[in-house]
Point group: C2
DNA sequence: CTTTCAGGTAAACATATGTAAGTGCGGGAC
DNA sequence: GTCCCGCACTTACATATGTTTACCTGAAAG
């Protein structure tokens, strides 16, 4: 079974056999986290970073009044807290949305990689830069698009990101988010999430049954969400 | 005159004399960009990254309908497009909000640093990780706080970030943003920015005259904006 | 089987924020 | 000096989205 991180990186650059071996070897152990459990908690100082091998996870912050905002949704191949290697203290929590298989990569190993494998280091750095690019895109969409457009955009993005790591089934993907969690992701109320989904369905853009989301009209969905994929940096380059 | 990037990094870790020399030497040339000019444009593939030495800059994206969203406001010491070293193509523009002095750092030099100076590499990586942390914080604030709280939060953040690089004058900082630009930053209309500012002034939290913003009641401003500074990672650590 | 409960859906109503269209001031251009 | 013109500021009005409450369904639990 191929490592989804390697799959993800190979969309962006060439990896030498040696580098692949180092990546595979960086995994110290694999653990399973149940749905709705925390993978990491705000305030912690992890000594290893978590690579998501299977399942969905989300980064979130909770305000004093209990309101929650999800700042990232992660799919297999994503490092959910690679940044803790250098930021040291978690400034947000990470939650398993589904049961998750997680590989732990010790920070000591990452430090060794930065000492000895410059190109691989750049690719890990790249990984966090793509996270950042996604954050920026979310900011623009949240700030300037309607709720409906925002939802359409989110669906487009998740579809592409799952496609990269081979987790699509034709035009269908699994989105294991409740409407409440979707609200926390898009900054909307649950009720409004429901309204928006009805609208997208009525327009014949998507079908959503249980966890299974099917894109019925890709072109119009992209148009509604003003989606372009450049920010995902799905391009082979010498980095 | 001390380099604001070195000032910024030294709040987060120790820099050796050698590393400081490398950083100083990385600057190929300094240019001046007039206010309202682009420092970088969407779609470009820069061969060097821009370090802001003086002035204010903003990253922005423009939608087809002309609506603009600012995703980051940069102050001296910030690398406005360090990510272009690895992302290659700019997925957004960078705008000079005031006249800016900008140091160009060739990507070739950055590559050399990643090959030869692992610790310095980690600090540059850290720099982009802090950008990411700020993006996440903006996402939570934009998604879950009121416009007033959002504005208060923004003021708190900018104040601290300017303080780090020695650009505060007591309780006063320079914020060279028009209310329209503030709206583009916070995802609000110009009219509502005005309303919110009036409210913060009436509450005695801030004074804003021209470019000069004075924080009158730091504690209450932080409370209104639900601001805590952890995400800025202003802590010396071994990284 | 029944009970329970999470999650999707719905309607009625409340409100934060946006839109459109202006006024007025102050500083730069000439 | 006068004339612009960008920018802060206002008002009146429109609407997207939030809040509250409730109902319904299917699936898990007992």
């Amino acid at each position: 079974m191929s490592n989804p991180l390697i799959l993800k990186l190979e969309q962006r650059d060439r990896l030498s056999a040696d580098e692949k071996r180092v990546l595979e070897g960086a995994i110290s152990r694999v653990r399973v986290v149940a749905a709705d459990e925390d993978i990491a908690r705000e305030g912690e100082r992890p000594s290893e970073s978590s690579l998501l091998l299977d399942g969905f996870a989300a980064r979130y912050k909770i305000f004093s009044n209990g309101r929650r905002q999800i700042t990232a949704v992660h799919v297999p191949g994503d490092f959910v807290d690679l940044h803790s290697f250098l930021l040291k203290t978690m400034d947000h929590g990470v939650l398993a949305l589904t049961p998750c298989r997680i590989a732990a990569v010790p920070h000591a190993t990452l430090e060794k990689i930065t000492d000895e494998y410059p190109h691989l280091t750049r690719l890990l750095w790249l990984n966090t830069l793509i996270d950042g690019a996604i954050h920026r895109e979310w900011l623009t969409v949240m700030g300037r698009l309607s709720a409906t457009a925002h939802m359409a955009h989110f669906v487009c993005e998740l579809f592409l990101r799952l496609q990269i790591v081979g987790r699509t089934d034709g035009d269908t993907i699994q989105i294991p988010l409740t409407q409440a969690e979707l609200g926390d992701t898009l900054g909307l109320s649950t009720v409004h999430v429901n309204r928006v989904l009805q609208e997208l369905r009525k327009e014949g853009l998507i079908r959503w049954q249980g966890d299974a989301l099917t894109v019925l009209d890709w072109e119009r969905l992209k148009a509604v969400g003003e989606f372009t994929s450049t920010y995902l940096n799905i391009q082979k380059e010498n980095r």
